[in-house]
Symmetry: C2
DNA sequence: TTGTATGCGTTATCAA
DNA sequence: TTGATAACGCATACAA
């Protein structure tokens, strides 16, 4: 480009970068030359020079999951608005994949990394990413539930404990007593949701809480999900997430079990389709897209300020719909 | 690292790269030093040197859309398996965003770019990405429907024409005659699906085909979607995609219209939730995840061979479920 | 088997 | 206002 415009490399660079101390005619010449050559500036070289890539890394477990996709969409959007690109990698719950992924992101010099729903401990993650890049994590985690509030910085969590508590209170107020929690495999989030449900139940005399667990991919086979509850049905079941709940709804229909008359079902996450199921699904709305966007914003702010953002607990909201509430007043 | 190990830069580089002509003791020393320093190789510099980034760019319209997410998941998976990272950018149907996105991907030196569901013409895209990187596009497009087969290379499309034809034949065989197509905004894919439906209908005497269009985001408000069909309902409605169909199902339920007895509904894409709706949705299954994976594989192969992959038309499959087929035999 | 030197495309420092 | 030049961190051609 410099040759074509008949100026020096430095001048060309400055002209294209909009350096104010370049004369208008020169700038025009350079720009013209650049266009004639369909010049595309090489970010790679620029990165090498500036030690920054204007790129964020996003690690999540599954791009195809409606809730995680929501987080990803919010994150990408916010990042793009701030002029950052995002490198995504899905680590389908494999710790091993996760480590490789983090490493790949580091090698590529991402300016910051966001880990959404990891199968590792937040502090472990932090230390594994430790050297230069920064982190922000996502959902709830047992180590974060400590009621004493000194949450480590750089963490955005949704208040799953409060969410599950709201569900349970709602169900109790509806008159349900025999409840169940249907969880998905071994995951921290599952642990928090399941154990919270159980704990809250303890305080209510006469109420019982059974716990069932299905496999990661079980939601794909609704009949299997419905079978997991066994023959002796509870009165209400709280599902790990909406995806599972919607699957369960279908499985129950196959079994000829009416919801909510014979069994109430509630989900978690508040994915869009939860509002369109039949019956419409009672759930807890988690502002996933907003959390993704927030993560990107904080990450970027933190990159510029070199200081980790405060931990944030995002509030969640119970959304009562048709799949629960057959009996009684059901005041949330 | 070289200093720490007491060897030259080159030796260190070679040792870490697994160069065979390095002695075992030396290699051990270097590796030890690297670990002691928690050395992370700088991909950026390596990229600059090798003029390749082991990174693919993925451009899609919306990460949160269940079908596009599927494509993205397949793409990421295949890319990761081949050791590539993927830079995603969502261009919510804005041509402007799309151009910025492509440019951003180019600047970052992606080795290849995959454009999934663009609002531009495939050949336009190709030329805009033209210089070095390569492209592969996704769904169907009017310019590709030409029955003469000289499809431009590097294109993966699903056979939407065949898919819609199957739907129409299915509906006809069920005895439906007054049909409608419910489309979404101005998009090429929508055009192909809608016009194909109309064209096929022409060949059948007695059958009619109306066309309705709703807005991009209309699916979020089911009642609005259901209203779009007006008071004088057709007997069957073909929706642009499953997302819209599921929304419509909900809107019709609000209006007290029974599916399929009063109105048959069919979707398109075959997203997982389509199988769990109530009534379960008749749809055309498009192997989106596989297409995404295929795109990544072909892209990578093409990067290495420097030759564009053949165009591929992926077959689709009608899946008849409860939301259609109230009357008659319904042989697909 | 290892060391020396050069270049990848930018930006930034220092002179002119 | 512009030009020459060094450096970013790595890979490699060539010399040893």
């Amino acid at each position: 480009v410099a040759l074509k415009a008949g100026v020096s490399q430095a001048t060309a660079s400055r002209a294209l970068a909009g350096d104010p101390r370049i004369s208008d005619p020169t700038r025009a010449t350079v720009i013209e030359a650049a266009e004639a050559l369909a010049f595309v500036p090489n970010q790679t070289a620029r990165n090498l020079r500036k030690q920054s890539t204007q790129t964020l890394g996003l690690l999540l477990s599954d791009l195809a999951d409606p809730d995680h996709a929501q987080v990803g969409a919010g994150f990408e959007q916010a990042a793009a608005d701030a002029g950052f690109s995002v490198l995504v990698v899905a680590a389908r719950k494999q710790v091993e994949d996760e480590e490789r992924a983090v490493r790949a992101l580091q090698e590529r010099g991402t300016d910051g990394i966001c880990v959404a729903s990891s199968s590792l401990d937040p502090v472990q993650i932090r230390s594994s990413v430790a050297p230069t890049p920064l982190v922000v994590v996502q959902p709830d985690h047992p180590s974060l539930v400590t009621d004493g509030n000194p949450l480590p910085p750089g963490i955005i969590r949704s208040d799953d404990v409060a969410g599950v508590e709201q569900i349970v209170r709602h169900l109790l107020s509806c008159g349900y007593r025999e409840m169940a929690y249907l969880g998905v495999g071994p995951s921290f989030t599952n642990e928090v949701r399941g154990s919270t449900a159980g704990r809250v139940m303890l305080t209510e005399s006469g109420a019982t809480m059974r716990r069932f667990e299905v496999d990661d991919e079980a939601w794909r086979v609704p009949t299997q999900v419905a079978q997991a509850l066994g023959e002796d049905l509870p009165e209400a079941v709280i599902c790990y997430d909406d995806k599972l709940a919607i699957s369960l709804l279908d499985g129950l229909r196959s079994r000829g079990i009416r919801v909510p008359d014979e069994l109430a079902v509630v989900g978690y996450d508040g994915i869009p389709f939860a509002a369109f199921s039949n019956p419409r699904l009672t759930t807890v709305r988690v502002p996933s897209a907003e959390m993704g966007a927030l993560a990107a914003d904080l990450l970027i702010a933190s990159i510029e300020s070199h200081v980790l953002p405060e931990a944030i607990t995002v509030p969640v909201e119970l959304v009562v719909r048709e799949s629960s509430g057959a009996r009684g007043e059901c005041v949330p």
